[in-house]
């Protein structure tokens, strides 16, 4: 074939693939349609017609024949001479699969045996429609199911619920060949279904479609970059520092825009993965005699191409599990008092900078007792441990390696591979899976994924002389423990070091125990790292006698001399939290992931490596792998005299997490943690003066800094250690860094904040924590004090409105703070101290255009008030916004259920103002 033909052939292949990508949905659409949808049929017809034409041109006889006979069938349907049945659609789907496979293997296409397909299509054309295959299967499945109670329940496999899995229905005796592709055994049916879309997704491997506007944007950025480069070169040549600064800033801005734009070319919608499940669910439910409604939500959520491609298999496994083990047959559902149609939901959505995919069903759920029995049988846990675990943790055992049985049938059926493989496959692309199940109600599996793989934001830490990167998605928080706090905060429970963190005990891991790193400690005077010759934590653990126990202080504690504090990074592996003690917290950085060689294939504790700015290598920790390595288990978390998690949650609703920072010796301030984006540590030598303002080079950009000195404090920043911390927070689209000499703690503060005694400009109030008076900083206020221009520049002009907003809040501190902020934006603010008073205000002030309410209040709480307002027709359409000091998904859901329109964080001024500007609209007052 000469070049010309080769090119045309390539074109034909690409075009055909494109057409075929939609054919499956169209065929399924035809099936779902009552009567005839000409558009759909025409589209399928045209696809086949085009393929037939091309195949004829290239002498691909087989392909031509198959497409031709399918086309004939569609022609009849189009002319309304043939009624679309499930069976016809099944045979067309099978035919389309073969066509797609032939297109992918054009050279071998003439070797395909298409006689079965042709026979079926001929049969249909001649009116000898084969018996409906599904009907047969359903009958059989029902028959099987009736016998089921007598079958001794097998040990639980994977997610198998109470329902012992029905033996795979035998293929119905001898239906016409037509049914072959679809009916056979479930294994094969699914493999066809799985293979086809996987291929079409994979076939695009080497190229990607990019929207023209995006390309234009890239061109534009490249142009800007060239201009800025010229400016940069010029300023370097002339040596004029005044020119250098703006040029550097511009390069920074353009680079990040370029990065974002280029990354977005890799983004694809998750629909590519989701759409194939329509077919899988249809085929499988037919085979198993189950009735299932598939609901797909959020199919337009975008993810990196690599992640999308890696998602197919694990998700297929989860969906198959749901259909196979989770959802019951109509008869079983009826017996359980549920509607016959089971619901399977695939839902993708964004949450906290990640993408979450939920696979949920309203099936039988998982019986924790069976999981427990099986785990004990397998020797994974003992009964004692089970007794200490709660149901959720027991169900999570299915993710453990070795939980699923090895002697299972085949891996295609989805029964041979266990959930641990699913979890591992997801982990390869940075995904984290968790499961929730309620017996009789259903099962939900949540998969959290990063948006992209190529570059991951990470925290860099130093342990001994080594550097490690911990992906930001796994980092929950960083805790610094002051020397005099160590004894109280770090304790040994059952021979394991535990950190006391807001009423929870979190196990601590000493990486040097596992990584063969010589433990070191930093001499507080000289700042030099020295070998630590003291006992290692792991050694201590083996000593179980009383003497050792009484002396059993954490290695971290021993290692640090009395004058140094301990830094701990709290990470989350799935729902399990633990702390990693680190010697040094370096900056957070966006790191580029590099793969590790074959010698690391069994080292689950590393997910890759990265190269730092100075050229050295840092390994990327896989927090899940590290946990396995250390053997820390979830059950430890429930040990001790702990409040249950529910307590913790309800407690959190009205408490306020504050970050305690030190400015000078006796000056300690509190900052609301919700407003803090990051905490960084810099050396004093990094400090630069830009104009009359201090700033620091940071992530390749410039971070403006403000110091409390001269604003709310008369003392200079105590930076004797030559190091200082920067609390990074966002105002408008810009980041501001607040300098602090030390980070003391993070606490949950529940008591009242005194908004009188210490209140002044920049200070919103005061509070007492551990007998010490803290001044509560107004992060926006200090900005204005620092330089009035900030406000104008970053927050924008207040627009005078005459709109009234009702603020219902019991804490005088928050009430006055929020009132001030909303008033500053030009609104009239009316206040009420609890829900009852709020309702009263609403009645007496018809001019109120929106309501902001706290949740936890005396007399009548926020949710009750919201329900009451919702119940009154005259307030229909009145925007209701809940404000909390802690955003939690559960609290948010409760609020949404009660009828709240939005959730906002109390002290986030921008969000508050923004929500008022968006929602407060003059409204027609009902007489």
């Amino acid at each position: 074939m000469d070049d010309m033909d080769e090119e045309v052939l390539q074109l034909f292949v690409e075009e055909s693939r494109e057409h075929l990508a939609g054919i499956e949905d169209d065929l399924l659409g035809m099936e779902a349609m009552d009567g005839l949808d000409e558009d759909l049929v025409n589209r399928v017809f045209r696809t086949l017609h085009t393929i037939k034409g091309g195949a004829g041109f290239f002498d691909l006889i087989n392909l031509q024949n198959l497409a031709h006979s399918m086309e004939n069938l569609l022609d009849l349907i189009r002319k309304n001479e043939l009624q679309t049945t499930k069976m016809i659609v099944s045979s067309l789907l099978a035919g389309a699969d073969t066509v797609a496979s032939m297109i992918d293997n054009l050279e071998a296409s003439n070797d395909y045996d298409i006689s079965d397909h042709l026979a079926v299509f001929d049969g249909i054309l001649k009116g000898e429609a084969a018996p409906e295959p599904e009907a047969t299967v359903v009958e059989e499945a029902v028959a099987v199911e009736v016998e089921e109670p007598e079958i001794a329940p097998e040990p639980v496999e994977n997610v198998s619920p109470v329902v012992a899995e029905p033996p795979a229905p035998e293929p119905p005796a001898t239906p016409a060949p037509a049914t072959k592709a679809v009916v056979e055994t479930p294994q094969e049916g699914a493999s066809t279904a799985k293979a086809a879309p996987a291929k079409s997704a994979g076939s695009g491997d080497q190229s990607i479609r990019v929207h023209l506007s995006l390309l234009d944007r890239l061109m534009e950025l490249a142009g800007e970059l060239v201009l800025t480069r010229n400016a940069l070169i010029q300023s370097v040549e002339t040596g004029d520092p005044a020119l250098l600064q703006p040029a550097a800033k511009k390069v920074d801005a353009i680079t990040s825009q370029l990065q974002r734009a280029i990354m977005s070319t890799r983004m694809q919608t998750i629909d590519i993965v989701f759409s194939k499940f329509r077919r899988i669910v249809r085929d499988l439910s037919g085979q198993l005699g189950k009735q299932i409604n598939l609901e797909i939500l959020g199919e337009d959520v975008e993810l990196d191409k690599t992640i999308i491609e890696a998602l197919g298999d694990p998700l297929t496994h989860l969906v198959r599990n749901s259909i196979d083990h989770g959802l019951e047959t109509p008869a079983q559902r009826k017996a359980a008092g549920k509607p016959p149609f089971g619901k399977l939901r695939l839902h993708a959505f964004h949450e906290a900078g990640q993408v979450v995919i939920e696979v949920s069903d309203n099936g039988a759920g998982i019986d924790p007792r069976r999981i427990a029995n099986k785990a004990i049988e397998k020797g994974m846990v003992n009964e004692e441990e089970i007794a200490r675990m709660n149901e959720k943790d027991i169900i999570r055992l299915i993710f453990q390696p070795g939980f699923s049985t090895a002697e299972e049938v085949t891996d295609i059926s989805g029964r041979g591979v266990g959930m641990d493989v699913v979890r591992q496959n997801l982990a390869k692309v940075g995904g984290v899976a968790d499961i929730e199940s309620e017996l009789g109600k259903g099962t939900t599996i949540r998969v959290k994924l990063p948006l992209t793989l190529a570059i991951i934001p990470s925290v860099l830490v130093g342990i001994s002389t080594e550097n490690f990167a911990i992906p930001q998605v796994n980092v929950v928080e960083m805790v610094g423990i002051a020397p005099d706090e160590i004894k109280r905060r770090i304790q040994h429970v059952g021979g394991v070091a535990m950190l006391r963190l807001r009423g929870e005990l979190v196990p601590l891991i000493e990486l040097s125990d596992y990584f063969g790193i010589a433990p070191t400690y930093r001499d507080t005077d000289s700042g030099v790292l020295t070998d630590d010759r003291r006992d290692r934590l792991a050694d201590r653990r083996e000593n179980d006698d009383d003497e050792a126990a009484s002396d059993a202080r954490c290695g971290a504690e021993r290692r640090e001399s009395a004058e140094s504090s301990v830094n701990i990074v709290i990470v989350a592996a799935g729902a399990f939290k633990y702390g990693i003690r680190v010697d040094e917290l370096h900056e957070s950085a966006e790191i580029v992931v590099k793969p590790l060689g074959v010698h690391f294939s069994s080292s689950t504790e590393f997910s890759g490596a990265t190269i730092l700015g100075d050229g050295t290598v840092a390994l990327i920790l896989d927090v899940d792998g590290v946990r396995l390595l250390s053997g820390a288990s979830e059950s430890q978390q429930t040990e001790g005299d702990l409040r249950t998690r529910e307590d913790e949650e309800s407690r959190d609703i009205d408490s306020c997490s504050i970050l305690i920072i030190q400015h000078a010796e006796d000056e300690v301030y509190a900052v609301p943690l919700q407003l803090v984006a990051r905490i960084e540590r810099f050396s004093s030598s990094d400090l630069q003066d830009v104009g009359d303002r201090k700033a620091i080079s940071y992530r390749g950009g410039i971070l403006p800094l403000i110091s409390l000195e001269g604003i709310v404090s008369s003392q200079a920043l105590d930076a004797t250690a030559n190091e200082f911390y920067v609390i990074v927070y966002t105002v408008g689209n810009e980041e501001i860094g607040l300098m602090a000499s030390d980070i003391r703690d993070i606490v949950d503060y529940k008591d009242t904040i005194d908004n009188r005694t210490h209140k002044r400009a920049g200070i919103a109030g005061s509070m007492i924590v551990n007998g010490e008076i803290l001044q509560f900083l107004d992060l926006y206020g200090i900005l204005e004090l620092d330089d009035p221009e900030w406000t104008e520049h970053l927050i924008g002009e207040a627009e005078e409105t005459n709109l009234s907003v009702l603020l219902v809040e019991d804490s005088p501190f928050f009430q006055s703070q929020m009132k001030k902020e909303i008033e500053a934006a030009g609104f009239i603010v009316l206040t009420a101290d609890d829900g009852l008073l709020g309702l009263e205000m609403l009645r007496t002030h018809p001019e109120i255009t929106m309501v902001l309410t706290d949740i936890e209040m005396p007399n009548m709480d926020g949710l009750e008030m919201v329900r009451a307002i919702k119940a009154l027709p005259e307030y229909a359409g009145l925007p209701l916004v809940a404000v909390t000091s802690l955003a939690g998904a559960s609290a948010e859901q409760k609020g949404l259920d009660a009828g709240v329109d939005e959730y906002q964080i109390k002290l986030d001024r921008e969000q508050l103002v923004d929500v008022c500007r968006r929602l407060a609209k003059p409204r027609a007052v009902n007489a």
Binding site: F515, I517, G597, H599, F600, A609, G615, T616
Partner: protein, 149 residues
């Protein structure tokens, strides 16, 4: 063994690990350089010294002396890295010193005895007679094998 014996005429890079003189056909050597700082890494293989940054790629470093369980003189510091291709990745072999590059004709190769200066014969594919001494030709596959037997 016989097929391993029949090496073609080739140029050989000769280096030293402990007391053994080892050779690799020049075609199997990608690069030789002085060892940069190695970042130690914990792996199940004690002979994996760590990783290095080689122009932006992460390269695993295998300590040949440890791999062959040789009692390497502690005073001699392994200083050179012989970069080889293994499967789809590059691996750096940490060796004590680079000696020579010599031309070998296919007639100069001999079968390997059971041990070579204390190292298991599996690590080698042939012996090569260099004028007055013998050079053990490294079997890369067996040496870098990661399957735990």
């Amino acid at each position: 063994m016989s097929e391993a014996l029949f090496l073609e005429d080739t140029e050989i890079i000769v280096f030293r690990v402990g007391d053994i003189t080892i050779g690799l056909p020049i075609t199997e050597v990608r690069e030789i350089f002085k060892s940069p700082t190695i970042t130690p890494v914990h792996t199940p293989f004690s002979y994996v010294n760590g990783v290095i940054n080689l122009r932006g790629s992460i390269v695993t470093i295998v300590d040949l002396g440890k791999r062959m369980s040789l009692s390497v003189n502690q005073d001699v510091k392994a200083v050179h890295i012989v970069l080889v291709e293994f499967g789809e990745e590059l691996i750096g072999l940490l060796v004590d010193g680079i000696e020579d590059s010599v031309f070998a004709s296919s007639d100069d190769f001999f079968p390997v005895p059971a041990t070579v200066s204390g190292a298991d014969s599996d690590f080698f594919r042939a012996l090569f007679r260099r004028e007055e001494d013998l050079v053990a030709m490294l079997n890369l596959e067996n040496t870098l094998e990661t399957e735990v037997a």
